[in-house]
Structures are given as structure tokens and as C-alpha cells.
Symmetry: C2
Subunit: 303 residues, 2 copies
């Protein structure tokens, strides 16, 4: 079977087992009871292995401000993935005209204005703007769980338009960040092993947009700034990144004016676990009935 | 002190105690560690009192499809609150032009197109489209937790642009729905009492838009279709709805073609707990330090 067939058959099976619930839009699904329990189990397992770090647990709604979005330079690299939230500001007669436009099947939101918020592109984005200033000598550790939006309709259940990332973020010196990446790589590998998932790591690159993007992607790979833990969902030949490490060097430190006590820009790195992707990997590997999963896996996820 | 002063002082205190974290946009804040623990505690408490219902636990990302949004008729009643997600579909040279527009401080997203999704206006909206068809004789019970978006920037911390609702939804006959409302009213009152919150119920109306909206609101009150459990956050004179009951009659049944076995349209009702609002009520009532809250309250929330 080709990749697309394997993916859409898996999606249909997930619908049939009420693990995902169709919405009419590709990549946007409800989650059934068991799917969501597994998501919660994975998140809790990640938080248990990360507990020794004493990271500050913050939480953000799934949008960032337009101001911070623009500062992040996300739009320079990933314009095709962004979701901008627009709103209506009008009176009774404008409203009436738009209701009629809707009834005629026209694009009624075409002239909406900015609301000042943008869909969160990655869970860690709202963190950096809150750290402006000088961080303590030991640096900072923050953890967040957030929905993220990426505008890329697909029939691959592992490529959702809205999905959750549990991230841990390290802000500090280049050495702090290197130690963080090594620690979390070992933790991630150990977790996936305990979940009886076939997984391996590889260097990777982000899906930078356009011609300039090709250069950025090559540069990111050459410098080893991104690596992923891959798990077969579609196939071993086309594995899926279920955990991803990004080393931003001083990119965000500079953009959001986060300084080390030395006065240099702080370096940052994040590790993100794709909660839906890891859940999908478990259903693909162990079957659709959680009650028949290996006891060790259920124990690890408290299911 | 006037209402606005009380509200903005409370907001500043929440920032000072790192319970909320400013973002630069009014009504959009990060949540600190303790704020989020209280949110989770309230949600778990609601789920414990609702456990006897055996409602199906579903979960949806915080957007609805444009198709289902239009079917819901939300835009007819609340156009001013909607958030429509728009995206970029262009090539390298369009992208370059938009980056320049952004740098000039212009509205770079003005010509973005529909992505097919709209911010979820209330947690129960994604449920109804999944129920198309004939429901069983005993009806259906569903529970969801979702972020909701309402475009109404405010300095009142109890009026957030993104906030979470835990909802329970009943789909069935008018009698089913009436019994559900009475049961949950008693449960909500009991829960707030156990949390040592001063609360009382009152009939209410939704903030319908425009001139026609005034009539809809009056009609909703006259028929007793909405009531709320109110708790003082700003003041006793201006209490805040922390729990809200909406009886939709056969509005959603009809729009989404949900039928009773008799062939009539199903009636629906929902009860929603505002998780951030209830959290704010607790901080306002018991102080900013959870460790100093009454033992009975901490016990109830497992804090």
C-alpha cells in the first residue's frame, strides 16, 4: 500500500473505534474518551520524568499576541502555517449585510479586522516574551502544555491542524542548553522504550517556506540544531517525529531581549512531545483496544 | 471605588502574585502554577459530582468548522464576539510583500483567506454536529472541557478573551432536559457552598447583538431559558456568572438534525462551569495564597 492509503485507512479505523471523531475538515477531529485518556497518560508520564528539573509550570491559552508573534519572526519562516484571528467590528446594518453574504455562500469574513491575536504556532512561543530582562545565574526552566495550530489540512492522522505539545524549555548559557538536550534525549528514549515503541533519533529540519527556506533548512541540519525521536506510525520508511528538540542559539534571547547575568543574550532550547502523535503511535503499535495493551505500557500510563 | 477600579486593582494583584501573567493584550493572560492547579482542581471536582451521569467524555480542539459554525447561527446573534481563523496562501513574492507590509506596521493579514475554522464560541458547540441522526430512547449525555474565544478586550479579569468551560450537555426530551437542569443546579449550588463561595442563582440572558438582540434577550429571560449561579468577584452588586445553564429547546436539535425516536427534534441543554471565573472567585474570596485557604476548600480541590 502507498503512504496515502496507509494513512487514510488508519484514520478510518480511528473513526470506527471512536478514538477520533470526524468534523468535516481534514486534520481537525474530536477525541474520544480513550484517545484522550492516553493523551493525559502520556502528558503525566512526561511530567514525572521531568519532575527533577523543578521547571516552573506555566499555562497559556492557545493564542499569542500579534505583537509577540511579529517579534518572533515566525511569519518570515512559516507563513503558510499561520492562523490569524480576525473579528467583526460593525453596526446593525453591516451585520445584516454579512448575514446575507453568508447565506449566499460568500466569504463573509473577508473584511474582518485584526483582533490582536494569532494561533499559537508552537507551545513555547508565549514563554519567551515573559522573560525579558536578566535571568538568574542558574538560568530558567519552564514547562507548558498548549494546543498549537498549523494550517496544513491532511489525511494523515499524525498531521493535525490542531494538536497539543508538552514542552520543556531551558533558558541559559550554551552549556546549560547542551546539558538539557542530552538529558531530555535520554529521558525521551527511555520513555518510548518503556511504552514499547520502536523509536530512533535523527537530525531534522523545520519546514521553512520558499526558496530562502531551503537554505535555512540546510543550515539547521548542518549545525545539528534540530533532532527528533522518530516512531513508525505510517511505516518504518516514513516515521513520525513524536518528540522534537530545537536549539535556537540566541535567536529568541535576542528577539525578546533575554539576557544572561554577563550581559550576553541568553540561549534557549526546547523539547516538545507531540501528545496526539505519541498517542497515535501507541494505538498503531499496540492496537485499538487499550485494555489489551501490554500491562507494562498501561502501568506506565496509569491506564 | 468604582467597578473599573476594583477590577483593574484585582488584575494588578493577580499579576503581582504571579497568578496571571500579562501578555500586552487585555483579557489574554498566562496562568501561573497555582492558578492552573486551582483550575484543574475545580474541573476535577465538577467531574466527580457529575460522575453518576456516566456522560460520554469527549474532547475537541478549540476551533469549530466554518460549516458547523454557520449552521449553528451563532453569527446571527453574536457577530461581535466571533474569532475567524484566516491563513496565507501565496508564493515567494507574495510572502516577501507581506513581510515588508509587516515591517511598515500595516495590516499584513488583511487579504488572508478562510482556513475553514472558527474559534470555539462555547465548549458545547462541537458536540451537536456529531449527533446528527436519531438518538436512543434514553437520550445522550456528553461532557467536554474546551477553551472558548470571545473578542471582548476588557480589564475585568473575569472577562477573558480566552477561557475554559467544563460543560455537561443533555440531549433528549423536554422532560430529560428539565430533570438535568434541576439536578445540576443543586450540584452547582452544593459545590460552591463546599468551596465557601457566596453564591445565588438568577435568570439571565445572553449578550445578543444589536436591535433584534434586545428582543431575543427579553424573550430568553421571559421564558426562563437561561439561569446562572452568581458569585461576587468585583462586588455583590455586580456579581459574576461562574456557572451557567442554557436550555436551547429544539434549536440545536433542528439545526443539526438530531432526532428523538419519535421523530421529533431533540431538545438540548447545557451547564457550563467557568473554570477561570470560579478560580478568580476563590482567589478573591480566600486570598492569593492557596496554602492559607480554609482546609475544607483545599480538601475539596485536592490542593
Amino acid at each position: 500500500m502507498d503512504t496515502a492509503t496507509v494513512q487514510s485507512e488508519f484514520l478510518q479505523q480511528l473513526f470506527a473505534h471512536r478514538l477520533l471523531i470526524p468534523s468535516g475538515v481534514d486534520g481537525l477531529y474530536g477525541r474520544g474518551t480513550w484517545f484522550e485518556r492516553v493523551v493525559e497518560g502520556i502528558d503525566a508520564a512526561v511530567q514525572r520524568i521531568g519532575a527533577p528539573d523543578n521547571a516552573e509550570a506555566l499555562h497559556f491559552p492557545p493564542v499569542v499576541t500579534q505583537h509577540n508573534y511579529q517579534l518572533s519572526e515566525h511569519f518570515k519562516s512559516f507563513p503558510d502555517l499561520v492562523g490569524v484571528v480576525r473579528g467583526f467590528r460593525g453596526k446593525d446594518k453591516d451585520h445584516l449585510a454579512l448575514v446575507e453574504k453568508m447565506e449566499r455562500g460568500e466569504d463573509w469574513a473577508a473584511n474582518f479586522g485584526p483582533t490582536g491575536v494569532i494561533m499559537t504556532p508552537a507551545a513555547c512561543y508565549p514563554i519567551y516574551p515573559t522573560l525579558k530582562g536578566t535571568i538568574p545565574p542558574e538560568g530558567k526552566r519552564v514547562t507548558v502544555l498548549s494546543y498549537c495550530f498549523r494550517y496544513e489540512p491532511s489525511l494523515d492522522p499524525a498531521r493535525l491542524q490542531m494538536f497539543r505539545q508538552r514542552e520543556h524549555v531551558r533558558i541559559g548559557t550554551p552549556d546549560d542548553v547542551r546539558e538539557f538536550a542530552a538529558t531530555w534525549k535520554a529521558r525521551g528514549e527511555q520513555l518510548f522504550k518503556e511504552l514499547s515503541l520502536d523509536s530512533w533519533s535523527d537530525v531534522a529540519n523545520d519546514p521553512f517556506f520558499g526558496r530562502v527556506g531551503k537554505m535555512l533548512a540546510a543550515n539547521q541540519r548542518d549545525q545539528g540544531l534540530k533532532f527528533e525521536l522518530l516512531v513508525p506510525i505510517t511505516s518504518r520508511e516514513k516515521p513520525t517525529a513524536c518528540c522534537s528538540f530545537n536549539y535556537h542559539q540566541d535567536h529568541f534571547g535576542h528577539l525578546f531581549e533575554i539576557k544572561l547575568p554577563t550581559g550576553e543574550w541568553a540561549h534557549t532550547a526546547c523539547v516538545g512531545f507531540g501528545l496526539e502523535r505519541t498517542t497515535l503511535a501507541l494505538f498503531k503499535t499496540h492496537g485499538f483496544d487499550v485494555e489489551k495493551w501490554p500491562a507494562t505500557v498501561r502501568e506506565r500510563l496509569k491506564l
